[in-house]
């Protein structure tokens, strides 16, 4: 019981600003975000920060504001107030592509593969600032040589990524022909192709069968060991509890509690929130 | 509301939405220019009133046709590019009937009457001289267009119910071509003179001149307003009308509620086509001539009206139609007549860019 109270208190103090250099230790910091849609408040003062190199879980009952928070951080929606900082920059209200180019990349809850593009094309799309994304460089004979050189590198990386996720046999398949689980893998692989500093995973396991789920989680752990930071939104509590060292619980647009799996599991307020009690 | 507040709002508009600000400025300038022209006598008051009257008459037709376009847009979910050619189909079928009725017993042979090649003077159709011919013609225009629309729905659109709006839009371009050139195949591309004889008209004297209003214009206004009223009552009072609005609002919920969506779609086509057919017939009555391009040329103006009024809104379509009609005519104060349509199109584009939900935005099929 006292653990739970501790966890609650810890949240409040940590969310406040402090003197340390937060940008190195906590790449993503969200402060007092508010967002409402036509009178319905979706996020109401959410604050949290994500530790570098961690695998943090973001959970909460339906309508807690997780997805909106996700969209506010990644620039899909603009917050009414509050701030989002990434690294040593404030990224509040930036366009999605600007956020992505800072090194903060997301996946989508319902996998959004590019159907009429092959798996390889999907992956090769992702790397940031490719030389050949400039029109004249792709066309002019002299400049194109540089483009092609980079294309080879990108292709090789894409194949490595396919090997890593063990979907290399699907390389030349249209993404639209993939199964639900394979799409999830592709989605994550594509996000990683951008060489991000941090990845936001929006329900990466929804609709994924257990054996693939295990594999996907292994990949996440492996990548985390390589220094990636992950924020994971997931409704499968087992997954969150067994894999995340730090868990943030949202409820009614706010952060209700933070802590380790054990702390969250024994937090009465969290249990109440999940069973539908007003907190 | 204080001056400073107005000023502040103006300043914010200028900073946040410069394009919109520019449009507002141009609008104000044009209005001032109109006053200037009226003041200096460069443009007469009667001329302006005449433009407004003519614009209203054309606008009612556009609005009438716009209702159907708006209904199909909101209930079937696509921009129907063949809607203008429904007007053409109505006009030709209706006028062939009018000629046959009016010309029976005259010297002209049936073929010439059916093909509208008989001399208008010999047939002599006007609302005053042959009211029955006009009335029957209007009726056939409605029936023929409805049958055509239902046939096309069955053959073209029904197999594509699950297709996206763009696929349907492209298909409707194909339908438009087929209808228009089927008309050409029968009637050729020649312009057909239709009415002849004395149309009763009256001159309204206004300050510095006069505005002429003829019986066909009055018939058109009465017909259009009656039809609009009918549609209003249908949509507001009948269960079917309510179901149409419900379906435009939320198709999935309509299904869950047990509304037979296919029957609602059929009703949508019937109403839309009936209005389109009568609009085609009436505009030909007003102009006294037509050719195969009648509806196609109007189509973009109809789109403009619907977009101006807000897609899905029936009243919006009517208001938008009148607004587009008036703009189309009133623009003649500043620009030569071959630019009148350009002005209407420009307004439509501006509306799409700055207020895509239209002036009646948010309201659906009401």
């Amino acid at each position: 019981m006292s653990d739970a109270a501790d966890a609650g208190r810890a949240t409040e103090t940590e969310a406040g600003t402090d003197g340390r250099d937060a940008s190195a230790e906590y790449p993503l910091r969200v402060e007092d975000l508010h967002k409402s849609f036509g009178g319905i408040t979706a996020v109401e003062g959410a604050s949290f920060r994500i530790e570098a190199g961690s695998l943090t879980g973001l959970i909460g009952p339906n309508g807690a504001g997780k997805s909106t928070t996700f969209n506010l951080v990644t620039g899909v929606h603009k917050p009414d107030s509050g701030a989002v900082c990434f690294g040593d920059e404030e990224i509040t209200g930036l366009e999605p592509h600007e956020v992505a180019n800072k090194g903060l990349v997301r996946t989508f809850q319902i996998a959004r593969q590019l159907d009429e593009m092959t798996v390889l094309e999907n992956l090769m799309l992702a790397p940031r600032s490719q030389v050949g994304e400039v029109l004249w460089r792709s066309v002019l004979p002299g400049a194109r040589r540089g483009v092609l050189a980079q294309e080879s590198t990108v292709r090789d990386r894409a194949w490595e990524m396919l090997d890593f996720f063990e979907i290399d046999h699907l390389a030349e398949e249209f993404a639209g022909n993939l199964s639900g689980g394979q799409r999830k893998l592709l989605e994550m692989a594509r996000a990683l192709m951008t060489d991000p500093d941090m990845v936001l995973l929006d329900e990466p396991l929804a609709g994924v069968n257990p054996s693939l789920e295990k594999k996907l989680l292994e990949h996440v752990h492996e990548l985390r060991a390589d220094g990636y930071t992950f924020l994971l939104v997931e409704h499968d509590m087992d997954v969150i509890m067994n894999n995340c060292e730090h868990i943030i619980v949202m409820h009614q647009g706010r952060v209700l509690a933070e802590g380790t799996a054990d702390e969250i599991r024994s937090n009465e307020r969290v249990i109440d929130a999940y069973l539908g009690e007003n907190v | 509301m204080g001056v400073s507040e107005t000023y502040e709002r103006g300043r914010r508009l200028l900073v946040e939405r410069p394009f919109l600000a520019l449009v507002v400025v141009v609008g104000v300038l044009l209005f001032l220019d109109l006053l200037y022209k009226l003041g200096t006598g460069a443009v007469g008051i009667a001329t302006v009133v005449g433009h407004v009257w003519n614009g209203t008459v054309i606008g009612l037709i556009i609005g009438l046709a716009g209702i159907g376009l708006s209904l199909t847009y909101s209930i079937l979910g696509f921009a129907n590019f063949s809607h203008g050619d429904y007007l053409t189909a109505g006009a030709f079928s209706g006028w062939a009937t009018s000629y046959l009725v009016a010309g029976l017993g005259s010297s002209a042979d049936l073929a010439a009457l059916f093909l509208l090649t008989a001399s208008p003077r010999a047939v002599g159709v006007t609302i005053a001289s042959k009211p029955l011919a006009v009335f029957l013609g209007l009726g056939v225009a409605v029936v023929f267009t409805v049958v055509l629309a239902l046939f096309l729905d069955r053959v073209v659109y029904e197999p594509m119910r699950d297709a996206g709006g763009i696929s349907l839009l492209i298909a409707s371009i194909g339908v438009a071509l087929a209808i228009r050139y089927a008309v050409v195949f029968v009637y050729s591309t020649d312009i057909r003179g239709l009415t002849a004889g004395d149309v009763p008209r009256s001159r309204l004297t206004i300050v510095d001149g006069a505005v002429v209003i003829d019986a066909h214009e009055v018939a058109l206004v009465v017909g259009a307003v009656a039809l609009m009223l009918g549609v209003h009552l249908l949509l507001q009072r009948t269960t079917l009308g309510k179901a149409m609005r419900a379906m435009a609002d939320n198709k999935d919920l309509a299904r869950v509620t047990g509304i037979p969506t296919e029957r609602v779609i059929t009703a949508t086509w019937i109403i839309g086509a009936a209005l389109a057919g009568s609009a085609g017939y009436l505009i030909a009555l007003k102009r006294g001539a037509m050719n195969y391009n009648l509806g196609w040329v109007l189509l973009l103006l109809i789109f403009a009206a619907v977009i101006l009024g807000g897609i899905g809104s029936v009243y919006g379509a009517i208001l938008g139609g009148v607004a587009i009609g008036v703009v189309n005519n009133l623009s003649l104060v500043w620009i030569p007549s071959d630019f009148a349509r350009v002005a209407a199109f420009l307004i439509m584009i501006l509306i799409l860019l700055f207020r895509p939900e239209g002036i009646y935005g948010g309201v659906k099929t009401a």
Partner: protein, 521 residues
């Protein structure tokens, strides 16, 4: 594995493939028609069966050849050339066997279908960049063509309402103007949904056409006055209004004539040689009249167009097979994904819209470049719909499909009906020895005799109005394609957007592969 068995198996497999079946079906119809005609045509002195067998064999081989190409060719250029060649054979046989055209006429017919194929191939390629690649639903193609052609004519045309600048300036000016108008349209319009964009673009193209049609700009651009203040002075450049405007002299003429504008000034050396050869050689070969100078000039111009088609194709393949093209495809599939991966999709869309419009302007210039004249009626929305139908037939998203779509549209749908309308009376004459007689002047006159079971007046009327029926055919075809084959002949085909071969790199080539090898080896 006997040869015959192999061919049969192939035939079965590619007829199962509906793409090939569609192509084969179109050819098969022509094949049957022309074969019947062949039998009829040789009814006289020559043994009928010999020529019949000949024609049958040629067309059977054609169908098999095109089908094989379609299915097995990895080289898209071969497919394009193969389709074009097959169509040449069809037209050639129709011209020689049934219409009895002289050499000059036959060469001119082939020249004409090549010209149209090239023009539509270019336009479809440009539209494919918008719609096929990026998903931008632009149905204002005709307007952007008009801007290109009119700007060129007003800059370098021969009329006194033009500026009289050198032709290259006019061409570049036209292309740039089309791109700029595209940019103005794109900046705000690209935020709209596809159906709104469609309405905006078609309205814009009508605004452009009506402006060129207006008497206001006929001889000069008038000064602009508002509330008594002059905002713009008058500029002495005009559009010619509804009467149209003269375009610069076909530059190809300069190869053959000393003064391209005046034939009486005499021929150049090349002219002497080429005209002489075209006439002389063909006279020697076949006898009768040879190929005449106007056809030689037109043929030369077509060669230029073909070179431009190759250029368009090359350019768009490069654009497509690059990281740039990959982003465009991603925008088409799901713009939010592209955006979330760090691509500034608005910028990509605007650039693409400008490039496509510039190419439409250039294609327009090339289309009107040999005719010496253009008018607003050349740029009706129907022109846009032609291009769209051609793209749908070819298959949106494929550059090869675009070219094939352009060819198929121009030769079979646009020119095909009129050619058939000329063939049918010949066939009736030879088969049934009946004459259609002069067609009735009205529809009623054509239909009324049906009561007496006489269909010939309706047939004659239909043949005379074949261009009207062609529009109906095109309309029906658009509907058919959207219902049954929205992907067209080449849609849904894997044309990978990348600059390099994407197969797994070999373990022992390049330095990059070495790390790869050590990891997975």
């Amino acid at each position: 594995m006997s040869g015959g068995g192999f061919a049969l198996a192939d035939a079965r497999s590619y007829f199962r493939d509906s793409t090939a079946a569609t192509a084969a079906g179109v050819l098969a119809v022509l094949y049957v028609l022309l074969s019947i005609a062949a039998m009829a045509g040789v009814g006289g002195t020559v043994p009928a069966w010999r020529e019949t067998v000949l024609v049958f064999t040629v067309y059977a081989l054609l169908i098999v050849a095109v089908g094989m190409l379609w299915r097995y060719s990895r080289n898209d250029a071969v497919i394009i050339v193969g389709v074009m060649a097959a169509i040449y054979v069809v037209y050639l046989m129709a011209g020689v066997l049934f219409l009895g055209l002289p050499l000059n006429g036959i060469v001119n017919t082939l020249r004409r279908i090549t010209f149209l194929s090239a023009v539509y191939a270019m336009l479809v390629l440009a539209l494919n960049l918008h719609w096929g690649y990026t998903g931008l639903f632009n149905i204002g193609v005709a307007g952007f063509m008009a801007v290109g052609v009119y700007t060129m004519a007003m800059l370098s045309g021969p009329a006194d309402i033009a500026l009289g600048l050198p032709l290259p300036v006019g061409i570049v000016g036209g292309v740039v103007a089309a791109a700029l108008v595209g940019a103005i349209a794109a900046l705000p319009a690209l935020r709209l949904d596809a159906d709104y964009l469609a309405i905006v673009t078609v309205a814009l193209s009508e605004i452009i056409r009506l402006s060129y049609n207006s008497t206001v700009f006929q001889s000069s651009i008038p000064r602009l006055r508002l509330a008594g203040i002059t905002l713009l002075p008058s500029i002495p450049v005009g559009t010619g209004g509804g009467q149209g405007i003269r375009t610069p002299t076909n530059p190809v003429r300069a190869l053959y004539y000393k003064d391209p504008g005046d034939t009486s000034a005499g021929l150049t050396d090349l002219g002497e040689f080429a005209f002489g050869a075209a006439d002389g050689v063909s006279v020697t070969l076949i006898g009768g009249q040879g190929v005449q100078p106007p056809v030689v000039i037109a043929l030369t111009y077509v060669l230029v167009l073909v070179a431009f088609v190759a250029g368009f194709y090359w350019l768009l393949i490069r654009v497509g097979n690059s990281p740039f093209g990959r982003v465009l495809k991603a925008i088409r599939e799901d713009e939010l994904v592209a955006n979330s991966l760090g691509k500034d999709t608005q910028r990509f869309k605007i650039k693409t819209f400008m490039l496509g419009c510039a190419l439409m302007g250039l294609a327009g210039i090339l289309w009107r470049g040999s005719t010496g004249f253009t008018q607003p009626g050349d740029y009706l929305p129907i022109q846009t719909f032609y291009v769209f139908l051609a793209l749908i037939i070819g298959g949106a998203g494929s550059n090869t499909g675009s070219v094939v779509g352009g060819i198929v549209f121009a030769t079979l749908l646009f020119e095909g009906p009129t050619t058939l309308a000329r063939l049918i009376p010949e066939l009736l004459q030879r088969l049934f020895n009946t004459q259609l007689g002069s067609p009735p002047s009205t529809f009623v006159g054509a239909v009324a005799p049906i009561a007496q079971l006489d269909l010939t007046p309706l047939l004659a009327y239909s043949l005379r109005n074949i261009s009207t029926l062609r529009f109906i055919l095109l309309g029906v075809l658009i509907v058919y394609m959207m219902q049954n084959r929205p992907d067209g002949l080449f849609g849904h085909r894997k044309e990978v957007a990348a600059g390099v071969d994407l197969r797994r790199p070999d373990r022992d080539t390049g330095a990059g592969a070495a790390t790869d090898g050590s990891e997975s080896g």
